[in-house]
């Protein structure tokens, strides 16, 4: 069954304390090649049957109304993926 993937990230100007904590943990494990980490969310919306433009539009609206808070987050991608 196809899925609609929605990705949400904290706005660039919002400090991301979780990302910062992850960034500071990486060097302890020897991963020293990264200067920063930002943590976001990925949602997978499963669709029975075909992904019509109407269903995709519903996903976009759900992403703006529920899956993200526009005060602190941006919806960075809404896309269709095939079977896992």
């Amino acid at each position: 069954m196809p899925r609609i993937v929605v990705e949400v990230m904290p706005k660039p100007e919002i400090l991301d304390p979780q990302g910062k904590a992850i960034a500071s943990a990486l060097p302890h494990l020897g991963f020293d090649g990264f200067s920063g980490v930002r943590q976001g969310r990925r949602f997978e919306l499963t669709v029975e049957g075909e992904v019509t433009e109407g269903i995709l539009e519903q996903a976009r609206r759900a992403a703006e109304d529920l899956l993200s808070n526009p005060v602190i987050e941006d919806v960075v991608d809404v896309r269709v993926e095939g079977d896992a």
């Binding site: 919002i14 400090l15 304390p17 979780q18 904590a21 529920l66 808070n69 005060v71 602190i72």
Partner: protein, 263 residues
């Protein structure tokens, strides 16, 4: 053993009967909303009763506000804080009814902790709360300065009064864009501000704010946990003797009775 019908478990009410044993001093009726995962509804209802009002239980799935004169959206972890704190609760039928009444600028609404988060998710108050800057759950007595005494919920405090109430949260860091922060400061809409060290990285040390009309107030700390000697924060009188939060509840009852709304 032969299969038996399991005993019917004693029914645990999901929502309290706050009307019992209430000898309200005034006619003020304050609704207290319960969502799945709300923790502090009974404390808020008790604070209302101690302040002389009548607490009315409101269930999230109902949409009838009844004849309440004000509403408290209490703290806890509604819907387990899934997605974002308050993100799912804001779509509850009761929240739709509260938003409709609150946006007229008359119904006093107080959001405490998770209730504040729900009010921001519902866009009834500006800004949002994100994870504390130190990433830990913090539970401690907290000093606040009351900077706006013109709201229904703070009218009995004195200007810049320092109060001590409990702070307990993990997502308590108030954030808003610069334009919103400037507007809040210029319009005197910062109602409570943290005093001493900032406990969570909130912008401008903001602990609580109000809307432009002044009827909706939200704050992260818990005034309802500082209403009864023996169960409050430590103060000069003794351990757990602090009752600085009670004035929030006497304020709204006073505002309601003086305006005639509850008579």
């Amino acid at each position: 053993m032969s299969p038996q019908t399991p005993p019917t478990p004693a029914e645990t009410p999901l929502i309290g009967d706050y009307a019992e044993s209430s000898a309200a001093l005034t006619g003020a009726r304050i609704g207290v909303v319960t969502f799945p995962g709300t923790l502090d509804d009974r404390d808020a209802a008790r604070a209302v009763r101690l302040a002389g009002g009548t607490a009315v239980a409101l269930w999230h799935a109902d949409d009838d506000l009844g004849d309440v004169d004000a509403v408290i959206v209490p703290g806890g972890f509604s819907y387990g804080d899934y997605l974002r704190a308050g993100a799912i609760s804001r779509f509850a039928p009761m929240m739709t009814s509260i938003a409709r009444e609150a946006q007229t600028g008359t119904l006093p609404v107080l959001g405490i902790c998770n209730g504040f988060q729900i009010l921001t998710e519902a866009h009834l108050l500006p800004g949002s709360m994100i994870r504390n800057d130190h990433l830990k759950f913090r539970c401690a007595d907290q000093v606040l300065r009351v900077e706006n005494t013109s709201t229904a919920w703070t009218s009995q405090y004195t200007d810049d009064e320092l109060i001590t109430v409990v702070l307990k949260n993990q997502d308590g860091r108030y954030v808003a864009d610069e334009e919103t922060l400037t507007r809040l400061e210029e319009e005197g809409r910062v109602v409570f501000r943290y005093v001493g060290s900032n406990p969570n990285g909130s912008r401008n040390d903001i602990a609580g704010i109000t809307n432009a009309a002044g009827n909706i107030v939200g704050l992260m700390p818990h005034p309802e946990h500082a209403v009864e000697a023996g169960y409050g924060p430590d103060d000069a009188v003794g351990m757990r003797a602090g009752t600085d939060g009670l004035t929030v509840f006497t304020s709204v009852i006073s505002s309601l009775t003086s305006s005639g709304a509850a008579l």
